[in-house]
């Protein structure tokens, strides 16, 4: 479907629809929160009953999510030893590989058995699709790293990880997409890095995105789009088909693990309809994990956990942060939106709408690491983290555009539209309301109880039931603590038992973190969208000590 994925240049009807859907999430969140507060004052009995029903829903959903968190983590752990290059080689003769896989080795343990089952399923699906299988040697990677004010010490580890990976660097084109408005020293550093590393890659380009281009906002998508167009010219000149190019748009601090590109290439090769898919790794924030304050660490581990859970739901997975896709698709859909802040999720929706719902996100069993937001002082870090989470929550700006597209599209099946719309809407609403409901508003009926309510059985049983539910939630928390201890890299300076206990105890900050650094930024973003007070793109400040 041809659809302008933008909120600009709309006719009157579309503009009205756009505003309606812009107001809807914020209005719903505020209605829920204020509704509960007023209900607690006027009808505490009803409010207390609804709170119990909600708490029960929350605990069951928490358990449900914990199951998939554990499964997803297990998959990630099991695939750590996988030789992706060998698997790619095996795609040359699928029948032979499938017959080999049909007779599993007796020495295989459960992880290997499951890994092989998944492998076999992927190959079978590929075989049944009867699609041509691209050769590994033909696949090229384009890595675009937007730079605004990131210094050399932030960018260079990522560049190094690209050339030190197992995928041949001479088939990787690196583009540092620098903003024209960046300080001269940032631009110079980019040029120096290019000069230093150019020889190791297919090429190393530095693009300079002009400021103030008509129709563009000062957002990352405008910069990366400009860079992608230049990269497109580069591939055209060298007769490299876009179908064979996988583009990865990485934050400047992204460090990939050595297997990343082979794992990505394998997924690309075995995915039928590979050009109509994005490839989502698990983002982890390990670059400076031991230098960041505890609240930022817990919050970003939480974000990784959320992606791990989402990875188990590929039917409704949406791209997030650093990810990859076919360059063919990127060109077909007209690149990233140049007037939106949440380009990472917007690119999925833009592709999904462009391909009439025949676009998906493939979770890949590998990680890439980024920096936790950090500043020179603890207080500034807090402010930066808040701003970063608000920017993430600004992803709600996609909701009105997606809804308009869904209403306009005759080809996307209704069931799919409903599922995606509900998930997008519910996700943002629960992000903005749950922390308040769980930590504060849920206790209001008891706290504000008038004489009439305090003389009911519910006044006494309500808090007791809530307390029991919260005790049960500690099982979920324990699961998170254990997985976080397993997922985190070792602390280079201290790794004693006390350090580990300290790390575990950091999770007790969850109630405060969820209110101030999750619920509040999300509510802030939704309120701004509803009031038409738009966010400016704010480049997350990243500091590395030492």
């Amino acid at each position: 479907m041809i659809f302008a994925y933008s909120r600009h240049n709309l006719d009157r009807r579309e503009r009205t629809l756009q505003r309606f859907f812009e107001v809807l999430p914020g209005a719903t969140s505020w209605t829920i929160l204020l509704g509960f507060i007023l209900l607690s004052l006027w009808e505490p009995l009803v409010s207390a009953a609804l709170i119990i029903a909600f708490d029960l829903y929350w605990i069951l959903r928490l358990f449900y999510m914990n199951i998939f968190l554990a499964l997803s983590y297990a998959r990630l752990a099991w695939e750590r030893k996988t030789d992706w290059l060998e698997r790619i080689a095996c795609t040359r003769d699928i029948d032979r590989t499938l017959s080999h896989l049909a007779a599993p080795a007796p020495e295989n343990k459960l992880p290997e058995v499951i890994s092989q089952v998944i492998w076999r399923r992927e190959l079978t699906e590929l075989k049944n699709s009867r699609q041509a299988i691209p050769s590994y040697d033909d696949i090229h990677h384009l890595v675009i790293m937007p730079v605004v004010r990131e210094s050399r010490n932030i960018i260079e580890p990522g560049i190094k990880s690209l050339c030190e990976g197992k995928f041949p660097a001479p088939r990787v084109l690196v583009v540092l997409a620098v903003e024209e408005r960046s300080r001269p020293e940032i631009r110079d550093a980019a040029q120096k890095l290019a000069a230093e590393y150019r020889g190791r890659f297919l090429d190393f380009l530095v693009t300079l995105h002009p400021d103030g281009v008509a129709g563009e906002a000062r957002v990352k998508g405008a910069n990366t789009t400009f860079a992608a167009k230049i990269a497109g010219e580069f591939f055209t000149k060298r007769n490299i088909p876009f179908e064979n190019v996988i583009v990865s748009c990485f934050d400047a601090d992204t460090v990939v693990n050595p297997d990343y590109f082979n794992c990505l290439t394998y997924s690309y090769i075995v995915t039928p309809g590979r050009t109509q898919a994005s490839y989502q790794p698990i983002p982890v924030y390990h670059n400076n994990i031991w230098e960041a304050p505890a609240f930022a660490r817990v919050l970003d581990i939480g974000s990784s956990f959320f992606q791990l859970i989402e990875a188990t739901n590929p039917d409704q997975l949406v791209t997030f942060s650093s990810h990859s896709m076919s360059f063919r698709a990127l060109v077909d859909i007209g690149y990233w939106p140049v007037d939106m802040i949440s380009d990472d999720s917007a690119i999925f929706w833009k592709s999904y709408i462009h391909y009439d719902g025949r676009y998906r996100v493939i979770p890949i069993a590998t990680t890439l690491s980024m920096d936790i937001t950090e500043a020179k002082t603890w207080r500034k870090t807090l402010v930066n983290v808040y701003k970063q989470k608000r920017r993430w929550a600004w992803g709600v700006e996609n909701f009105p555009i997606v809804m308009r597209a869904f209403l306009a599209s005759p080809t996307i099946p209704w069931r799919q539209k409903l599922r995606h719309a509900f998930k997008l809407f519910e996700g943002h609403i629960s992000w903005a309301t749950w922390p308040f409901l769980l930590t504060f508003i849920g206790w209001l009926p008891t706290m504000l109880a008038g004489r009439e309510f305090s003389h009911t059985v519910l006044y006494y049983t309500g808090p007791r039931i809530t307390a029991t539910i919260f005790s049960l939630a500690s099982i979920g928390l324990l699961n998170c603590i254990v997985l976080s201890l397993l997922l985190l890299p070792k602390n280079p300076s201290k790794n004693t038992l006390w350090t580990k206990i300290g790390q575990a105890l950091e999770w007790l900050l969850i109630p405060l973190i969820t209110i101030f650094l999750s619920g509040m930024p999300a509510l802030d973003a939704q309120t701004r969208l509803a009031l038409n007070k738009r966010l400016e793109f704010w480049v997350t400040e990243k500091e590395r000590k030492g």
Partner: protein, 496 residues
């Protein structure tokens, strides 16, 4: 090896059939089903529903919450003793009447009969267990002739004689070494005639008579300040009025005029309000009942007048044509009018509470209740809000009789956050515990010297009095400072 191979084949087959979306779907429906089953069960439980196995019937139960001071008392409900000791919540009680008894060694037994309704909680949240033998302490062996309590100040005046130099301040811990008169020595031989105070304002206006001359002092015990304001009171007032929220102003009534006095600046505004039949002040707002029976509210600077009652027939049915009323604005929208012959009226129906004989009032702001007493009776009024906000005279009230066999009730006050009433009937001091259902429990505490007042310190939970037989100031601790203010619901409970 073969076994391992079979095991792996089985694993393969199971894993081969499972897909991630399939697993997700299975868990989703499982949790959905679990929620649909659990949610109504938990909600039914929360509302007190249980299944009675004998009858296979769903019944809604009630509960009783018991909190005693001191805690740890044995609880009997009917013939059964509960494993739990107080504080306790006894839940899953079938609707019906129950006899509750509470026992603690060395303390007087406590019992009450109550009715449990379905879905309702009966709260005995502030049961004060009194020792079998009360043990008053002697605070001072000096001889006193009276105690003069000061409202809202955690102090009282102890009088050793009839002249001003015989009066000492007592704050519940120590008696001041210097008499009050040491601050204004000129009035040492004056006679203390009257003390004007008001609830929620620590100020007291003392009226002294010195050789037929009347002197006025403003006492602020919490700031240890005593100020002579005689010079700015140009005519002998019939009554003083204080604003609970304004420490800088005193109002005095002279015939039908109100003078405003600013003691700190020495300013006097004679005839500040004229032709009044009633007056009160709160929150720097003046409440005036005019000679015509119109009730007005205005700012202290006389701006923004607002008519609260203009209906002459309603006014005539509430107020007597003669006399002056003190107006007490207790809450936004709730006023009490106390006439100089003890007429008591409110703006809540039935408006006129007592034609005469009301000796005093005390307000419990936490529970919107007013305590008032006459010579023989003590009652409470609970103010209801069941009329529109703009109709101030149509809200209702509930009047409850607390005590009716008094001989000469002189003092009454709320204690322990409004759960008890302490009162002095002639020379006997009683403690009345208000019950959620039925009449209050009344316990005799001590007998005091004839015609002497008592002083109760909420800070220490102690009554100070002059004993009928023993010389000196006595203290009886009925509610120690660490007594729990509220019930903490216990986390678990056991059956009988």
């Amino acid at each position: 090896m073969r076994g391992k191979m079979i095991q792996n084949n089985v694993l393969e087959k199971i894993a081969g059939r499972l897909t991630l979306p399939g697993i997700r779907r299975a868990f989703f429906y499982f949790f959905l089903l679990l929620y649909l089953i659990l949610c109504p069960i938990v909600l039914f439980y929360a509302f007190g529903f249980i299944i009675r196995p004998q009858e296979q019937k769903l019944v809604q139960t009630g509960l009783v919450s018991i909190n005693t001071y001191p805690s740890g008392a044995y609880i009997y409900l009917g013939p059964s003793r509960y494993v739990q000791r107080s504080p306790a919540i006894l839940s899953e009680l079938l609707p019906g009447r129950y006899d509750l008894r509470v026992f603690l060694n060395q303390y007087r037994p406590w019992s009450n009969s109550f009715y449990v309704s379905a879905g309702k909680a009966v709260l005995f949240d502030r049961i004060l267990l009194l020792p079998k033998a009360l043990a008053p302490r002697t605070i001072s062996r000096q001889s006193f002739i009276n105690i003069i309590p000061l409202e809202s100040a955690s102090s009282c005046i102890l009088a050793r004689g009839h002249t001003f130099k015989d009066n000492y301040l007592f704050d519940g811990t120590e008696i001041s070494t210097d008499p009050l008169a040491s601050r204004i020595f000129l009035y040492a031989d004056a006679r203390l005639q009257d003390v004007a105070t008001i609830q929620d304002n620590p100020l007291a206006v003392l009226t002294l008579v010195l050789q037929k001359e009347i002197k006025y002092l403003l006492l602020q015990p919490d700031k240890d300040s005593l100020m002579d304001i005689s010079a700015i009171i140009i005519r002998p007032p019939e009554k003083f009025f204080l604003d609970p929220d304004d420490m800088s102003t005193v109002y005095s009534l002279h015939k039908d005029q109100i003078d405003m006095i600013k003691p700190q600046t020495g300013a006097l505004y004679p005839g500040y309000v004229e032709h009044v039949r009633g007056f009160g002040a709160k929150g720097k707002k003046l409440y005036i009942l005019s000679q015509e029976g119109i009730l007005l509210r205005m700012n202290q600077d006389r701006t923004g007048p607002e008519i609260l009652l203009s209906d002459a027939s309603v006014s005539a049915s509430i107020f007597d044509p003669k006399g002056i009323y003190e107006i007490y604005p207790l809450l936004p929208g709730t006023f009490v009018f106390l006439g100089d012959e003890g007429q008591l009226a409110t703006n809540h129906l039935p408006h006129k509470i007592r034609d005469r004989g009301c000796r005093g009032i005390a307000f419990d702001g936490q529970q919107n209740r007013l305590l008032f007493w006459t010579k023989n009776e003590i009652d409470t009024i609970e103010f209801l809000r069941n009329a529109p906000d703009n109709d101030l005279f149509s809200n209702g009230s509930v009047i409850q009789r607390i005590f009716e066999e008094g001989r000469n009730i002189q003092q009454c006050l709320w204690i322990y956050e409004g759960s008890h009433i302490l009162f002095r009937d002639a020379n006997k001091v009683f403690l009345a515990e208000l019950m959620p259902q039925g009449p209050p429990h009344i316990e005799f505490l001590v007998q005091v010297k004839n015609n002497t007042d008592i002083f109760y310190s909420e800070d220490t939970g102690t009554i100070y009095y002059l004993d009928a037989k023993i010389e000196g100031l006595q203290a009886l601790n009925i509610l120690p400072k660490n007594a729990p203010a509220l019930v903490e619901p216990p986390t678990s409970e056991e059956g009988p």
